[in-house]
Amino acid sequence: MDPYLLRKLNRERAARRAVIHLTDLGDGRDRVICEGDPVAGPLGAAVEGAFRSGKSGVAEVEDRKFFLNVHLPPARIVAIGAVHISQALAQMAKVAGFDITVVDPRTAFATEERFAGIDLVADWPEDVLKARPLDAYTALVAVTHDPKVDDFPLSQALSSGCFYVGALGSRKTHAKRVERLTALGHGEGEIARISAPIGLDIGAASPAEIAVSILADIIAHLRRRPLRGAAP
Protein backbone atom coordinates (compact mmCIF):
# COMPACT_ATOMS: atom_id res chain seq x y z
CA MET A 1 0.00 0.00 0.00
CA ASP A 2 1.25 3.40 -0.96
CA PRO A 3 1.85 5.64 2.11
CA TYR A 4 0.17 8.51 0.27
CA LEU A 5 -2.95 6.36 -0.15
CA LEU A 6 -2.96 5.42 3.54
CA ARG A 7 -2.92 9.12 4.44
CA LYS A 8 -5.67 9.91 1.97
CA LEU A 9 -7.78 7.01 3.24
CA ASN A 10 -7.43 8.16 6.86
CA ARG A 11 -8.13 11.78 5.93
CA GLU A 12 -11.35 10.89 4.10
CA ARG A 13 -12.50 8.61 6.92
CA ALA A 14 -11.83 11.29 9.52
CA ALA A 15 -13.92 13.73 7.48
CA ARG A 16 -16.83 11.24 7.47
CA ARG A 17 -16.71 10.66 3.71
CA ALA A 18 -17.36 7.23 2.20
CA VAL A 19 -14.26 5.70 0.55
CA ILE A 20 -13.14 2.41 -0.98
CA HIS A 21 -9.59 1.08 -0.85
CA LEU A 22 -9.27 -0.96 -4.03
CA THR A 23 -6.47 -3.53 -4.42
CA ASP A 24 -5.67 -5.51 -7.55
CA LEU A 25 -4.96 -8.94 -5.99
CA GLY A 26 -2.93 -9.90 -9.06
CA ASP A 27 -0.22 -7.25 -8.99
CA GLY A 28 -0.86 -5.60 -5.62
CA ARG A 29 -1.51 -2.16 -7.11
CA ASP A 30 -4.06 -0.13 -5.21
CA ARG A 31 -6.02 3.11 -5.20
CA VAL A 32 -8.45 5.05 -3.02
CA ILE A 33 -11.83 5.88 -4.53
CA CYS A 34 -14.07 8.52 -2.97
CA GLU A 35 -17.84 8.26 -3.32
CA GLY A 36 -18.78 10.00 -6.55
CA ASP A 37 -15.38 9.53 -8.24
CA PRO A 38 -15.95 8.20 -11.76
CA VAL A 39 -14.64 4.65 -12.29
CA ALA A 40 -14.82 3.45 -15.87
CA GLY A 41 -16.02 0.10 -17.19
CA PRO A 42 -17.23 -3.03 -15.42
CA LEU A 43 -15.11 -2.22 -12.36
CA GLY A 44 -17.21 0.93 -11.98
CA ALA A 45 -20.34 -1.18 -11.45
CA ALA A 46 -18.59 -3.20 -8.72
CA VAL A 47 -17.43 -0.01 -7.03
CA GLU A 48 -20.91 1.49 -7.16
CA GLY A 49 -22.43 -1.69 -5.73
CA ALA A 50 -19.93 -1.72 -2.87
CA PHE A 51 -20.67 1.89 -1.95
CA ARG A 52 -24.39 1.09 -1.92
CA SER A 53 -24.21 -2.10 0.12
CA GLY A 54 -21.36 -0.98 2.36
CA LYS A 55 -20.00 -4.53 2.12
CA SER A 56 -16.32 -5.23 1.51
CA GLY A 57 -15.37 -8.13 -0.71
CA VAL A 58 -13.58 -9.58 -3.71
CA ALA A 59 -14.86 -8.74 -7.19
CA GLU A 60 -13.82 -10.54 -10.37
CA VAL A 61 -13.75 -8.20 -13.31
CA GLU A 62 -12.52 -9.32 -16.73
CA ASP A 63 -10.44 -12.18 -15.28
CA ARG A 64 -8.83 -9.94 -12.69
CA LYS A 65 -9.52 -10.14 -8.97
CA PHE A 66 -9.94 -6.97 -6.97
CA PHE A 67 -10.46 -6.50 -3.26
CA LEU A 68 -12.77 -3.64 -2.40
CA ASN A 69 -12.53 -2.52 1.22
CA VAL A 70 -15.46 -0.19 1.85
CA HIS A 71 -15.20 2.40 4.61
CA LEU A 72 -18.55 4.05 5.32
CA PRO A 73 -18.67 6.69 8.07
CA PRO A 74 -19.85 5.18 11.36
CA ALA A 75 -23.46 5.94 12.19
CA ARG A 76 -23.93 8.59 14.87
CA ILE A 77 -26.79 10.24 16.68
CA VAL A 78 -27.40 13.95 17.21
CA ALA A 79 -30.02 14.55 19.90
CA ILE A 80 -31.59 17.99 20.10
CA GLY A 81 -32.70 18.56 23.70
CA ALA A 82 -30.81 17.75 26.89
CA VAL A 83 -33.94 16.28 28.45
CA HIS A 84 -34.52 13.20 30.61
CA ILE A 85 -35.01 10.95 27.55
CA SER A 86 -31.64 12.10 26.16
CA GLN A 87 -29.89 11.24 29.42
CA ALA A 88 -31.01 7.62 29.04
CA LEU A 89 -30.54 7.62 25.26
CA ALA A 90 -26.95 8.87 25.55
CA GLN A 91 -25.98 5.98 27.84
CA MET A 92 -27.76 3.35 25.72
CA ALA A 93 -26.42 4.73 22.42
CA LYS A 94 -22.87 4.32 23.70
CA VAL A 95 -23.53 0.72 24.68
CA ALA A 96 -25.01 0.01 21.23
CA GLY A 97 -21.89 1.48 19.58
CA PHE A 98 -23.16 4.84 18.36
CA ASP A 99 -21.37 8.14 18.84
CA ILE A 100 -23.87 10.60 20.26
CA THR A 101 -23.91 14.37 20.61
CA VAL A 102 -26.51 16.19 22.70
CA VAL A 103 -27.33 19.79 21.74
CA ASP A 104 -29.43 22.20 23.79
CA PRO A 105 -29.10 25.99 24.05
CA ARG A 106 -30.89 25.97 27.40
CA THR A 107 -28.06 25.91 29.91
CA ALA A 108 -30.36 24.80 32.72
CA PHE A 109 -30.82 21.51 30.84
CA ALA A 110 -27.38 21.12 29.29
CA THR A 111 -25.35 20.61 32.45
CA GLU A 112 -22.24 18.54 32.99
CA GLU A 113 -23.87 16.84 36.01
CA ARG A 114 -26.76 15.53 33.96
CA PHE A 115 -24.55 14.39 31.04
CA ALA A 116 -21.27 13.27 32.58
CA GLY A 117 -18.96 11.77 29.95
CA ILE A 118 -21.30 12.66 27.08
CA ASP A 119 -20.49 14.98 24.16
CA LEU A 120 -22.77 17.86 25.18
CA VAL A 121 -23.00 21.25 23.44
CA ALA A 122 -24.89 24.08 25.18
CA ASP A 123 -25.54 26.12 22.07
CA TRP A 124 -28.16 26.78 19.40
CA PRO A 125 -28.48 24.03 16.77
CA GLU A 126 -28.10 26.75 14.09
CA ASP A 127 -24.53 27.37 15.29
CA VAL A 128 -23.61 23.80 16.23
CA LEU A 129 -24.69 22.29 12.89
CA LYS A 130 -22.70 24.87 10.97
CA ALA A 131 -19.48 23.50 12.44
CA ARG A 132 -20.65 19.88 12.51
CA PRO A 133 -23.02 19.37 9.60
CA LEU A 134 -25.53 16.52 9.47
CA ASP A 135 -25.06 13.81 6.84
CA ALA A 136 -26.59 10.60 5.51
CA TYR A 137 -24.88 8.59 8.25
CA THR A 138 -26.46 10.63 11.07
CA ALA A 139 -29.70 10.06 13.00
CA LEU A 140 -31.39 13.27 14.17
CA VAL A 141 -33.52 13.03 17.30
CA ALA A 142 -35.49 16.17 18.23
CA VAL A 143 -36.94 15.95 21.72
CA THR A 144 -37.29 19.47 23.15
CA HIS A 145 -40.98 19.96 22.26
CA ASP A 146 -39.96 23.54 21.46
CA PRO A 147 -40.26 24.61 17.79
CA LYS A 148 -37.68 27.37 18.36
CA VAL A 149 -35.09 24.69 19.10
CA ASP A 150 -36.35 21.65 17.13
CA ASP A 151 -37.51 23.08 13.79
CA PHE A 152 -34.18 24.18 12.33
CA PRO A 153 -32.34 20.87 12.93
CA LEU A 154 -35.37 18.91 11.67
CA SER A 155 -35.34 20.93 8.47
CA GLN A 156 -31.56 20.44 8.11
CA ALA A 157 -31.91 16.69 8.73
CA LEU A 158 -34.44 16.39 5.90
CA SER A 159 -32.24 18.40 3.53
CA SER A 160 -29.06 16.46 4.33
CA GLY A 161 -30.66 13.03 4.01
CA CYS A 162 -30.16 11.81 7.58
CA PHE A 163 -30.93 8.08 7.69
CA TYR A 164 -33.25 8.71 10.63
CA VAL A 165 -35.27 11.78 11.56
CA GLY A 166 -37.45 11.58 14.66
CA ALA A 167 -39.44 14.17 16.57
CA LEU A 168 -41.17 14.00 19.92
CA GLY A 169 -44.73 15.24 20.27
CA SER A 170 -48.36 14.26 20.01
CA ARG A 171 -50.11 13.90 16.67
CA LYS A 172 -51.58 17.36 17.19
CA THR A 173 -48.16 18.92 17.83
CA HIS A 174 -46.82 17.10 14.81
CA ALA A 175 -49.61 18.40 12.57
CA LYS A 176 -48.53 21.95 13.42
CA ARG A 177 -44.89 20.98 12.84
CA VAL A 178 -45.80 19.65 9.39
CA GLU A 179 -47.34 23.05 8.57
CA ARG A 180 -44.17 24.88 9.63
CA LEU A 181 -41.85 22.52 7.71
CA THR A 182 -44.06 22.86 4.64
CA ALA A 183 -43.73 26.62 4.93
CA LEU A 184 -39.94 26.12 4.97
CA GLY A 185 -40.24 24.47 1.56
CA HIS A 186 -40.20 20.74 2.45
CA GLY A 187 -42.41 18.47 0.37
CA GLU A 188 -44.92 15.95 1.63
CA GLY A 189 -42.72 12.91 0.91
CA GLU A 190 -39.76 14.45 2.71
CA ILE A 191 -41.79 15.32 5.79
CA ALA A 192 -43.28 11.82 5.81
CA ARG A 193 -39.77 10.54 6.57
CA ILE A 194 -40.02 11.95 10.08
CA SER A 195 -40.78 9.35 12.73
CA ALA A 196 -43.47 11.08 14.75
CA PRO A 197 -44.44 10.24 17.37
CA ILE A 198 -40.79 9.29 17.77
CA GLY A 199 -39.69 5.71 18.39
CA LEU A 200 -41.14 2.24 17.88
CA ASP A 201 -44.64 1.68 19.19
CA ILE A 202 -43.80 -0.57 22.15
CA GLY A 203 -45.99 1.18 24.69
CA ALA A 204 -43.00 2.91 26.26
CA ALA A 205 -43.93 4.97 29.33
CA SER A 206 -40.84 6.13 31.23
CA PRO A 207 -38.09 8.30 29.70
CA ALA A 208 -35.75 5.30 29.69
CA GLU A 209 -38.33 3.15 27.91
CA ILE A 210 -38.88 5.89 25.34
CA ALA A 211 -35.11 5.99 24.83
CA VAL A 212 -35.18 2.22 24.13
CA SER A 213 -37.96 2.70 21.57
CA ILE A 214 -36.02 5.54 19.88
CA LEU A 215 -32.76 3.57 19.75
CA ALA A 216 -34.55 0.48 18.37
CA ASP A 217 -36.21 2.69 15.73
CA ILE A 218 -32.81 4.15 14.76
CA ILE A 219 -31.29 0.67 14.45
CA ALA A 220 -34.22 -0.50 12.31
CA HIS A 221 -33.77 2.48 9.99
CA LEU A 222 -30.00 1.96 9.79
CA ARG A 223 -30.12 -1.76 9.03
CA ARG A 224 -33.10 -1.64 6.69
CA ARG A 225 -32.39 1.61 4.90
CA PRO A 226 -32.86 1.46 1.15
CA LEU A 227 -29.54 1.31 -0.65
CA ARG A 228 -28.56 4.76 -1.80
CA GLY A 229 -29.18 5.14 -5.49
CA ALA A 230 -31.71 2.30 -5.46
CA ALA A 231 -35.32 2.97 -6.36
CA PRO A 232 -37.26 4.01 -3.24
Binding site: M1, R13, G28, G57
Partner: protein, 106 residues
Protein backbone atom coordinates in the same frame (compact mmCIF):
# COMPACT_ATOMS: atom_id res chain seq x y z
CA UNK B 1 -14.45 6.14 15.10
CA UNK B 2 -12.14 5.55 18.04
CA UNK B 3 -8.82 6.89 16.74
CA UNK B 4 -6.73 5.32 19.46
CA UNK B 5 -7.86 1.82 18.48
CA UNK B 6 -8.18 2.15 14.71
CA UNK B 7 -5.52 0.02 12.93
CA UNK B 8 -5.28 2.30 9.87
CA UNK B 9 -4.71 5.35 12.08
CA UNK B 10 -2.09 3.40 14.04
CA UNK B 11 -0.43 2.37 10.75
CA UNK B 12 -0.07 6.01 9.73
CA UNK B 13 1.27 6.98 13.15
CA UNK B 14 3.85 4.17 13.11
CA UNK B 15 4.88 5.15 9.58
CA UNK B 16 5.37 8.74 10.76
CA UNK B 17 7.52 7.41 13.61
CA UNK B 18 9.81 5.91 10.96
CA UNK B 19 8.82 2.32 11.62
CA UNK B 20 8.48 -0.30 8.89
CA UNK B 21 4.81 -1.26 8.63
CA UNK B 22 2.80 -4.11 7.13
CA UNK B 23 -0.95 -4.33 6.86
CA UNK B 24 -2.93 -7.60 6.94
CA UNK B 25 -6.53 -7.53 5.74
CA UNK B 26 -9.25 -10.18 5.80
CA UNK B 27 -10.36 -10.33 2.15
CA UNK B 28 -12.57 -13.44 2.10
CA UNK B 29 -14.36 -15.57 4.68
CA UNK B 30 -16.30 -18.84 4.51
CA UNK B 31 -18.43 -20.36 7.22
CA UNK B 32 -18.26 -18.92 10.69
CA UNK B 33 -15.32 -16.53 10.57
CA UNK B 34 -14.38 -14.58 13.69
CA UNK B 35 -13.66 -11.23 12.01
CA UNK B 36 -15.54 -9.72 9.07
CA UNK B 37 -14.09 -9.04 5.62
CA UNK B 38 -12.15 -5.77 5.70
CA UNK B 39 -10.73 -6.25 9.24
CA UNK B 40 -7.14 -5.12 9.68
CA UNK B 41 -4.06 -6.13 11.61
CA UNK B 42 -1.14 -3.72 11.49
CA UNK B 43 2.37 -5.02 12.21
CA UNK B 44 5.73 -3.24 12.54
CA UNK B 45 9.24 -4.49 11.83
CA UNK B 46 9.76 -5.47 15.46
CA UNK B 47 6.67 -7.67 15.53
CA UNK B 48 4.51 -5.19 17.44
CA UNK B 49 0.93 -5.44 16.26
CA UNK B 50 -2.47 -3.87 16.63
CA UNK B 51 -5.95 -4.88 15.46
CA UNK B 52 -7.27 -8.32 14.62
CA UNK B 53 -7.95 -10.63 11.68
CA UNK B 54 -9.19 -13.66 13.61
CA UNK B 55 -9.78 -12.90 17.25
CA UNK B 56 -6.48 -14.46 18.25
CA UNK B 57 -6.40 -17.84 16.46
CA UNK B 58 -3.96 -17.14 13.63
CA UNK B 59 -2.45 -13.75 14.51
CA UNK B 60 0.89 -15.36 15.39
CA UNK B 61 1.27 -16.86 11.92
CA UNK B 62 0.13 -13.65 10.21
CA UNK B 63 2.65 -11.60 12.17
CA UNK B 64 5.43 -14.01 11.15
CA UNK B 65 4.50 -13.66 7.47
CA UNK B 66 4.18 -9.90 7.85
CA UNK B 67 7.80 -9.69 9.00
CA UNK B 68 8.77 -11.48 5.77
CA UNK B 69 6.65 -9.06 3.74
CA UNK B 70 8.34 -6.12 5.43
CA UNK B 71 11.66 -7.71 4.48
CA UNK B 72 11.07 -8.36 0.79
CA UNK B 73 8.14 -6.05 -0.03
CA UNK B 74 6.22 -8.84 -1.80
CA UNK B 75 2.53 -9.01 -0.84
CA UNK B 76 1.21 -12.47 0.13
CA UNK B 77 -2.18 -14.14 0.32
CA UNK B 78 -2.60 -16.42 3.34
CA UNK B 79 -5.36 -18.91 3.94
CA UNK B 80 -6.45 -20.44 7.24
CA UNK B 81 -9.08 -23.03 8.06
CA UNK B 82 -9.88 -25.51 10.79
CA UNK B 83 -6.69 -26.88 12.33
CA UNK B 84 -6.41 -30.62 11.76
CA UNK B 85 -3.63 -33.08 10.97
CA UNK B 86 -4.16 -32.86 7.22
CA UNK B 87 -4.53 -29.16 6.72
CA UNK B 88 -3.30 -26.05 8.40
CA UNK B 89 -0.62 -25.77 11.04
CA UNK B 90 -2.56 -23.09 12.85
CA UNK B 91 -6.28 -22.87 12.47
CA UNK B 92 -9.59 -21.40 13.41
CA UNK B 93 -11.34 -23.19 16.24
CA UNK B 94 -14.69 -21.86 15.06
CA UNK B 95 -14.63 -24.02 11.94
CA UNK B 96 -14.54 -21.26 9.35
CA UNK B 97 -12.01 -20.42 6.67
CA UNK B 98 -10.43 -17.03 5.96
CA UNK B 99 -8.10 -15.50 3.39
CA UNK B 100 -5.77 -12.74 4.56
CA UNK B 101 -3.85 -10.36 2.29
CA UNK B 102 -0.58 -9.07 3.73
CA UNK B 103 1.17 -6.08 2.18
CA UNK B 104 3.89 -3.64 3.10
CA UNK B 105 3.04 0.05 3.56
CA UNK B 106 5.48 1.94 1.36
Amino acid sequence: MNDTLDPLTIAERWMDDGRMVALATVVETWGSAPRPVGSHLVIDGEGNFHGSVSGGCVEGAVIGEAMEVIGDGEPRMLEFGVADETAWRVGLSCGGRIRVYVERVG
